[in-house]
Symmetry: C2
DNA sequence: TCAATAGTGTCTGTGAGACACTATATC
DNA sequence: GATATAGTGTCTCACAGACACTATTGA
């Protein structure tokens, strides 16, 4: 039986941490800040902030996203991924954290906040390989997994692109996030036949070489009824290794 | 600009509310308690409890599940569904609630706790039609949606069944939760060909009439790579934001 | 012309759904 | 025998993947 002091309801501070993903130079990047205050002073961490009096936790995440990237979170899909509540996960005291996933088109360099030494887009593979503050390595890992699944079941891939994008742009998103190679012909057909994913703009975009590609914008559909197949999901399906 | 008293970090109590689903008499049921204390005294509500000093929020949910049903939550899939953090959602003060989904085989009648007038299995369609305490109607709705999706992508359907079950039992789960009719022959083939979902027991179970059915137990696989197709009966949901 | 990228045609294998059929039980 | 439930065979259609082909641009 636990001691009296070890049980009973507890107050806590609640924070929202953000995993903001984008693609730059065909690499999946995550926005990491470098902490400027203890604990973990000088270590990379996910951006985040505490729940305030008159907001929801999603509001906290949107506010933080705006501060870090200038993006209006209300217009982006902000996905709840996980909840982290281990009693000793934060040396400052009892802090429960929700993680939100945001996916953005190629953005300008972020700016460091007041309590932050710097803010940078870090290659995800690199970010997963180095130690992060708190339990942020785990939070990041969970969010990446979540993003990969969202690509199968939703149209979120389009939010990695600019407002007007080509089908090849979209294919790059899938290939980068899943780290696989897809057949351009089959991908083309799949996307154009999928009702509501894409809307034609009637315009094209020139390439330095080759035939200009048709430009699309994101269609109204958000969830797919028939999921986009993801190759090499530990199955005997042959997928060419990438590069 | 907000007033000074309206902003700034805030402490909160955190609770885990449970949506415990089971199937009784081919109907999807949810465990609802009737509150015995204000606020919402006498109203039906989801069971739940507050985060305590030395536990995770999942631990809170498992403790509550054990108290309400006698089930060891650690051995059941307990799925985080949503997070509810509107500032005025609870008249007692700032309370942030996480909802967890639990799916159980046909259980005995639950017993009422100390602050609870009664606890009962309620038909889900009925529970969605009557007012519940707090924002529990929304929490319940979100959890049902989540359960329907989990049936497509995981083997959670088996947790609605007893340890040994027939393929027809499993089909009943899908039909009840999705509210559709499936072809028995095709369902049979689909399940038996799906690697790792089912394990043969070598035994059969007699029916009052007809050929005895082979009994299976749940296999090791938890997530499906190829989702079980859900007839497009009620695919009316677009992604609703959860806080 | 060639090289490069966009996009289409077409074949093949797999799997879902429809539904007829066989198998095994009770009455 | 009839009836009910379990389970299989088989046909068709749709779609994913492989890959050859056409289309449209710049050099």
């Amino acid at each position: 039986m636990p001691q009296e002091s070890d049980s009973g309801p507890v107050q806590a501070r609640i924070s929202a941490d953000l995993v903001i993903l984008t693609i730059r130079e065909s690499r999946l990047k995550v926005l990491l800040i470098v902490r400027g205050t203890p604990p973990f002073d000088g270590m990379p961490a996910l951006p985040g902030g505490f729940l305030e009096r008159n907001e929801t936790l999603r509001g906290t995440a949107e506010r933080e996203l705006l501060e870090e990237t200038g993006l209006q979170g209300g217009r982006l899909p902000l996905e709840l991924v996980g909840l982290y509540s281990e009693p000793d996960r934060d040396p400052r005291g009892r802090i429960v954290t929700a993680s939100y996933l945001a996916v953005a088109a190629n953005l300008d360099e972020p700016v460091a906040g007041s309590e932050t030494k710097s803010a940078n887009w870090i290659d995800v593979k690199m970010a997963l390989g180095e130690p992060l503050a708190f339990d942020h390595s785990r939070i990041l890992r969970d969010a990446i997994d979540h993003a990969r699944t969202l690509l199968e079941r939703t149209t979120i891939a389009a939010t990695f692109c600019d407002e007007h994008f080509t089908i090849r742009d979209l294919q790059d998103v899938y290939e980068t996030v899943w780290d696989v190679a897809l057949d351009p012909g089959n991908f083309q057909r799949k996307m154009t036949r999928m009702e509501g994913f894409l809307e034609e703009t009637g315009t094209t975009r020139k390439s330095p070489y080759g035939r200009p590609a048709a430009l699309y914008r994101r269609g109204p559909v958000r969830t797919l009824q028939t999921s986009i197949f993801r190759p090499s999901a530990s199955l005997d399906r042959q997928s060419r290794p990438r590069d």
